[in-house]
Amino acid sequence: MMGRLRTLTRRTFLIGSAAVAGGVVFGTYLAKRPVKNPLLTDLQQGEAAITPYVKIDSSGVTLITPRADKGQGAYSLQAQLIAEELDIDPASANLSPGLPGPAYYNGTVMEESVPFPAYNQGAMAETVRRFMHVPAKLLAMQITGGSSTVPDSFVKLRMAGAIARETLKEAAAQQSGIARDQLSTENGFVVLPDGTRLPYTELATPAAGIEPVTDVELRSKSDWKSLGKPMQRIDMPAKCTGTEQYGIDLQIEGMVHAAVRANPGLGAAVESYDATAAESMRGVQKVLPIENGVAVVADNTWRAWRAVDAIDIQWAAGPYPASTDEIFAKIEKVINNEAHRDHRQRDEGDVESALEDGDIFEAQYKVPYLAHAPMEPMNAIVKVTDDQCEIWTGTQIPLFVRDHAAALTGLDKENVFVYVQPIGGSFGHKLEDTHVLQAVEIAMALKGTAVKLVWSREEDMTHDYLRPGAVAIGRGKVADSKVDTFDLSVAQSALLPDWFGRLMKINIPGPDATITTGSWDQPFDIPNYRVTGYRAPTMVPISSWRSVGASGNGFFHDSLLDELIHKAGADPLAERIRLCLDDTSRKVLEKAGEISDWNGPSISENRGRGVAFCLSFGVPTAVVTEVTNTDSGIKIDKVYVVVDVGDVLDPVNLEAQVFGGVIFGMAHAMNCETTFENHAAQQNNYHAFEGMRLYQVPEFEVVALSNAGKIRGIGEPGVPPAAPSLGNAIFAATGRRIRELPFNKQIDFV
């Protein structure tokens, strides 16, 4: 039977229904582009033109949640959005991240100018969208940049649920002869006026035979049953019983285990290798060269790793300066060097004249390169045959993975299948696919056999695409106890051209907004206010790291502001509030003052508090941190965080994302950096990249306001203000201003 649809007025997407064996699916109809959809293999060729979100058959209800879950609860939230309108308990439904194939990367995304799957809170997509919109004017000042995917899912998935519900009711109406508006729904049943309950599962087949009911209205917020209230994440029981199956846990019939050792000089080749010892080790089946490295195939991960360690490899030198000092020297060379100016998106008042004379403040700041180091190391299972390539991996970029694998194997894209697995953390690393392509290379040499490649922690941390290191110079002036002039210059390598070049083989011209994202776009009104980005040459490979450009810029901007406020003799919180030109942001700052009982930066002898603010991904975020300067180091006592995301869909998960983001920001600020010697990253495991441990974790208080007009994602905004609030608190408690991360190079933590 043909799929059906009806145009929804004033909507950019179409939701329709289609029959499948024994039931019905509801989803986005791809009018222009029928795509292969394995969920709908029952349909005839050309009819599978629907991206399903809901499938109902006699066995039950399946909710399809096509956007990646890296730990932020996206699967669960997508299901909750559908369930809210469908009137089912999402925990009773089957949940599927979607079977392989391009159908899940929906039409809206394909048609967007930004070439990204619409992942919830996708950092890179967010940044690119903003980059695409960057005009000369300060768009983000009106908080218009940022997420289109959260509001998109927010409407679309509820719409799919509502259309499914009304269509099931219509089927019941036709069956019972009672008008649809006399019927109600409850927990998987259509309920007739006399109380008779007809299960959805029995209405699925008749529902597939009628026109879907598409003129539906979404329920108003005040009628929500689950949304907006504390929810249970659907993946929680599996994650607490060891039964959640991540990519690394997956086992495929007949699978072999692979290990690789790639050149620690990132991007450079292998000159020669001697694998004699490895080849005779127990369980080793094959040793083979791969791009920039050598691979071992064995019958067990540990044996493969041991064997790869036993290969003697001569490496070509990495194509960038050999040491961190030399790399930073290149960055320092371009800052305030107008020949290397990338962009200046903020220039108010007359900074030049203001800084001509008088008492001018100047300081230099620095943030290090950083690995992502999610707990689940990079891994992939790949099986290549003459006709197709199948890939099982946790990834944020399944379409790029598909295209790259197609290019590598010479197969058509249609014959490459990417089965996205649950992800054990990403922080941006799974926006890269080097490890997947290595697995494809190995699998091509073992046609017909599934190959599971798992990077050792050491391979993972020394072959990452890092958060770029950056340098900033801040200058400024105060007048009448107020901040009068703020001039920030930031230099780093350009991130987006690097990433686009690597993943899409395209050259993006023009400025790289990420150099100043999180500093040029802050909602403050300072008489003379300027932010300039300088572009350092491309050196070590870099990529998006949780909160992208704002991860370093949040520290630069707010640290400089704090220093100028101190110089003005003003109160750190009151002066930020006075300077703030955006109502929503100002209320966030005020609330932070209220919940922290703010009364100045000093709490008592050896105790201090710092406030920091950053607007990123459209979310104004204020953090107040209280610390004690103990005899053996800084103790972080308590952290208060206030955000405004518009409507809060799940307050429990929101709180987790917020404190998780702040901990992530603080942990790296405390003690993490990735440095280079002989072209190789030096920190290869967690002993040298420790982050925060339980004993160091402060008490948290998180408040979410809902003054903003637009719903936002919250996976990243906690990160940027975390480091400066800690730095400002350390200054308040000790009088020491630390301008370079990580802080532990200059001060201890307890």
Binding site: G71, K239, T241, W302, M375, I423, G424, G425, V454, L694
Partner: protein, 153 residues
């Protein structure tokens, strides 16, 4: 060689120096224990050996002897949760969840030897378990909640 995992005994043909973690994961297909670092720095691989929390990446199977190994799969199931797992779910601890098998095994071992730990004792016992997602505030809350539950039993 014979090993006993979750009350089932298995015959293993492997080098005595192979870490228990890889025997569990690759030889037996028991994937609750996770690999995170391989050098005792993260705790993701934590299992119980004779009831005590042990980093399975550090324990060679040749050294196991007749010990009883319990993995998260043997601690409790969705149908019959261990109190620690119950507390973890009630407190909505997990984000990516990758570290949580290890966190839960560590907490269960702590509470079996010290049913009413102080904050400092919780910090001391749990600080070897890394969580990159930063779920720590809820780990702390869940350990305390589990301690209460166990005392009520």
């Amino acid at each position: 060689m014979e090993i006993t995992v979750n009350n089932t005994s298995y015959t293993i043909d492997a080098e005595p120096e192979m870490p228990l973690l890889w025997v569990l994961r690759d030889e037996l297909g028991i994937t609750g224990p996770k690999y995170g670092c391989g050098i005792a720095q993260c705790g993701a691989c934590t299992v119980h050996v004779n009831g005590y929390a042990v980093r399975s990446c550090q324990l060679a199977i040749g050294d196991l002897g007749n010990s009883q190994v319990t993995t998260i799969e043997g601690l409790g199931t969705t149908q019959s949760l261990h109190s620690v797992q119950q507390a973890w779910i009630e407190n909505q601890v997990a984000q990516c969840g990758y570290c949580q098998s290890g966190q839960i095994m560590q907490a269960a071992s702590l509470l079996s030897t010290n049913p009413d730990p102080t904050d400092d004792q919780i910090d001391a016992a749990m600080s070897g378990n890394l969580c990159r997602c930063g779920t720590y505030p809820r780990i702390r809350a869940a350990v305390k909640a589990a301690a209460k539950k166990l005392q009520e039993v």
